[in-house]
Symmetry: D2
């Protein structure tokens, strides 16, 4: 049996779109067919979204995007005001981004391992697998414990996941887990610095959930920290009301897509005549024929009054191929240059540092 | 433009597996290849799960399963002790099941509509579309309002989604929205009567979210009902600890799959040496190559220590084809007959009615 | 290393739709959503096709349908006049059906094998794998040799694949490889007896190709048997001209789908105003977004003038699940009872046995 | 109703990989996960294939690759000795490449059209649709007629598709449909000039089929041109025997994949101990779970003795995204520079121009 060290040798390295000017390549794709043409249109809509300085850009993340090597892209989007809020699965933000901020890495799995025939061996080595990528489970347990620590440090009351993740950002700052102090950069810390709120509407199905369960278990009948998913929804809706022009950049589907689309309706229920999301892009390989939300077209979302159909585009591609091209295109076209950060966290939490 | 009445003419009718003995058909499939053989094996594992009276069966629902005509199956599973807990997206439970319990229906969309070219017309008619199925949005707003009513009736404190859904079951009982009083049967009410807990770990991304946002908005700074997703996780973990032998019957992936698998690890974190899920079935069309959790194999889950690989089977099929065959097989084999309801809700809430 | 005998223990057994009355089950699916509703509609269109006694039904086969356990269905369709011509990949007809007619079997692969990590071991054992199914390659070589024998027995000239396959049917008859003589039944022989022509427009990419290459190689500069794919096309077009009302029952896509659809245009080119295919069903999991013919919608085919859109239905399902339900429905509804065999082979080859 | 002119306004323009140096971008992908890492490995294997000057590179084309804007890539591969033989569906070579060589174009379809709701309107305008791309059917009929002319010009005997396509190349030359004479460049003509054989093993299911049917119909009982698919197979096998080291670059699956893989076995049957294909790449979105050849893994092909597994890689991507990156990588790395054209056509037809 190979040892853990033998298995965890080649780290995932995050692609840096700043190094690759793909503008001419993506522009050439507009004259082609199928995914290439759609990808160009999506990139153009993202550019347009950014040029519309009124537009608040909401990035939605489902799937294992951070462990797959896209982390630096999301950091660059935050630092260049190309995204104003993030809605994500917990795994991307806690198990993967926070995990790496704590100093850990994701590892490239040998090609054979993805077939699944060696998973018992991985199990014995306390190694977790995400398709073709490996994680040291002992390190992940440390990450769980750290979220418990963060929970223990907070006043016992209901928090939105956004508030909790902001506290995780503060924790990184305070522990020096930031580039300025020799740490690695992270989505959570970049968002903390730039007042970009991050929502994980199903916050408990990730490493944070383990920390929170441990916290609640330890507190027994004493007051405890809880995660109020309704508050998440209320907060994001308030952002929509305060900043009616919005655009969605969605990688994958799932809860983040559903949650972010729904705020249009929620705003209306609160008596505000919020417009539909003006721009919407989704990158997905999900097949529309299973009728699920993840695969449902943005046209279908327009029947629900959630997404306008003038500037919407779905791109049929696994994300690691399409995301560098779409975001790199907008970056190198300089579409972000006139933008100020919207600093939406301040809207929700007036007294920020 | 067609009127709403013209568009909403043919209701979705839920298939009744009790009427269709598929045992011989599914048994014949064991000697074939591809999805048919896998389907037979999944049905056999489900049967085995039920014959193992120690096993607590957790049904996971993602995708639009209730609006697609599978509701009666889930009700029958509950009433025949073929499922002991449900983990679901909010849409299945609130927007679809509770919605129908309130007396509303889902409607068959004309074939043309699924192409998405008529969504603006649907929008004008206040009709929402789920692929090939239609919903009267005005009725859905009534459903939102009803969840607000339920929220308003509760003491202001953090609730697990399970507690809230149980309150929805009590509401249906109290309002007479039950078969005994001429209403239609529902998953929520069958679960209420049979003490089957229902968890929606991302409870706010559905009709319940709208009701809860309205509730929290109206309460302003006063104490309010909140939905604690960590409590959901804690509760389900407690069930795993109390009843170590468990099996998963998963339709689709997403948060329900992730959440239900994770409780093995959570139990361990709480100091309990819980075994992996002993049985696991997933029906999905998601493609493993995007690396997402929804499509990840049950073998991959074993590397995380979540699912044992002796009795696991994925079935590549859209759910409306596979679910009637798999559940119908187990039903007509009589596998449930020796089972008592586990009445897990009582474990979590000792003083039940 | 396991031996060949240990690996080839459980044979594929073909499902017998005559034993499973699925009418009520499929009828219940018409009120549901997604694949189930589409499957019901496809089954109804197939029934309608059969009730229209003018209609010539063309069955198109791509993918490994015979080795997957569907062979008996195709035989039953032929013997009950539910299909009038077959267009197939070579593998289904030669490597799989003729192969079994020669007395060989396909075998169930242990679940592990489909991951591909044991393929080198299979190679050493001279075992070929089709996903979860195994074939003894030595037996397949015998099948190759037999097609060479058939080629050697023919006058050297260009043959349509249909003519060659008819000669294979005659060979089975003459060798006593038929049920009446203790052999197993086959598509080729049932088609031979019922004058159902079988076309394999890419005849050389299968076991027949190996036999024919050996034949041509041995003949060197002497006159030889050749396979004229243009003649295939010409013959099928003549059937369309002689019998203008046609319907397609397509399993998978590929060359068979393209070829069978194209005859409408070919008829027109020959100066005959042939109507589009009046009925069309396709069962496939191919995703429309790659723009390929296999996944292209039947609506798209209507832009080419190939398929009418009044009675067309695609069903999103792996074939082993959908085909028994669709064909079983039509069979048990008795839709074939008023039909006479069209005996199309006689149209092409006036002097048949 | 829009006119044909209004519908056919924006032509497909073919991407030119020579203009886009993607080496750094693709190199960055090797450290990521999922499709990006696989794409890098495929690009590296293609580079390795080219550096191995013994290796004969066989390009396999299925799907609508030429109309999608990839034509110039294939021309560049031929002219830079990056491909030594092509196996394709007929559509790519005849309906799309030859069609454009005759002076026609493919057109970008308005986004709405791909939904299929306007296909009747397209039909009335004699416009054919390939997903999001349009073709003037009247021009396609001219293409059919031209293949008939080519057939009429040949001695009546069986031809391999390769011979026929070579005759099409000669026709273009003779008619001045070449860049040197103001025409547009084409795969067929570049292959003609560079002695790169092109095989379409199912030659009749395309525009050539229409021309050949017309030819055979007009000849009645007189000797006629026929297309011998067995000869195709025999010829390609001879190339494998003459040049044992081979690599496959496969876009899509279908007949081209099957046919090209099979020649290893055919060589063996002819008594030559040909090695498996040493290198193999496939770009596809087909899902392995339907058990079809198109989606079958290259590992599975190794159980058949067709593909070696040391240098094989499948890439999960729609082709228009992956092909420019993979081929552009090998091109800009200069991997082709030490290569001479293998001029395989001369092997098959000793006396070439």
């Amino acid at each position: 049996m190979p040892t853990k060290q033998e298995l965890l040798k080649q780290p995932i390295q995050h692609i840096d779109i700043k190094q690759h000017n793909v503008v001419a390549l993506v522009d050439a794709m507009q004259h082609m067919a199928f995914s290439s043409r759609d990808l160009h249109r999506a990139a153009s809509i993202y550019e347009r979204m950014l040029l519309d300085t009124d537009c608040g850009v909401i990035l939605c993340l489902a799937g294992s995007m951070v462990s797959a090597g896209l982390k630096q892209i999301f950091i660059d989007l935050i630092r260049n005001h190309m995204v104003d809020a993030i809605v994500s699965t917990g795994a991307n933000i806690v198990d993967q981004d926070f995990f790496e901020a704590l100093g850990f890495k994701h590892w490239i799995a040998d090609d054979l391992l993805r077939q699944g025939t060696e998973d018992a061996m991985l199990r014995e080595n306390m190694i977790d697998r995400i398709y073709d990528t490996l994680i040291d489970e002992e390190q992940l347990r440390f990450c769980d414990d750290t979220t418990e620590k963060v929970a223990n440090s907070l006043d016992p009351r209901p928090y939105s996941s956004r508030e909790f993740i902001r506290a995780m950002g503060a924790y990184l700052e305070q522990e020096g887990k930031v580039p300025e102090k020799g740490g690695v950069d992270s989505i959570i810390h970049a968002a903390y610095q730039n007042d970009v709120p991050i929502f994980c509407p199903a916050f408990s199905d990730c490493s944070a959930g383990f920390g929170l369960v441990a916290h609640q278990h330890a507190r027994q009948d004493k007051p405890k920290v809880s995660i109020d998913s309704a508050k998440d929804f209320y907060e994001l809706t308030q952002l929509k009301i305060a900043n009616p022009t919005t655009g969605l950049l969605m990688l994958g589907g799932g809860v983040p897509k559903n949650f972010a689309q729904d705020i249009v309706v929620a705003a209306e229920i609160l008596g505000n005549d919020a417009p539909m999301h003006k721009y919407a892009i989704q990158i997905t390989v999900a097949d529309v024929r299973d009728g699920a939300l993840s695969s449902s077209t943005l046209k279908e979302a327009s029947s629900w009054g959630k997404v306008d159909t003038t500037y919407e585009q779905m791109v049929y591609s696994e994300a690691t191929l399409a995301v560098p091209l779409i975001t790199g295109y907008a970056y190198h076209k300089g579409a972000f240059k006139a933008r100020q950060g919207k600093r939406w966290s301040r809207l929700l939490e007036p007294v920020t540092a």
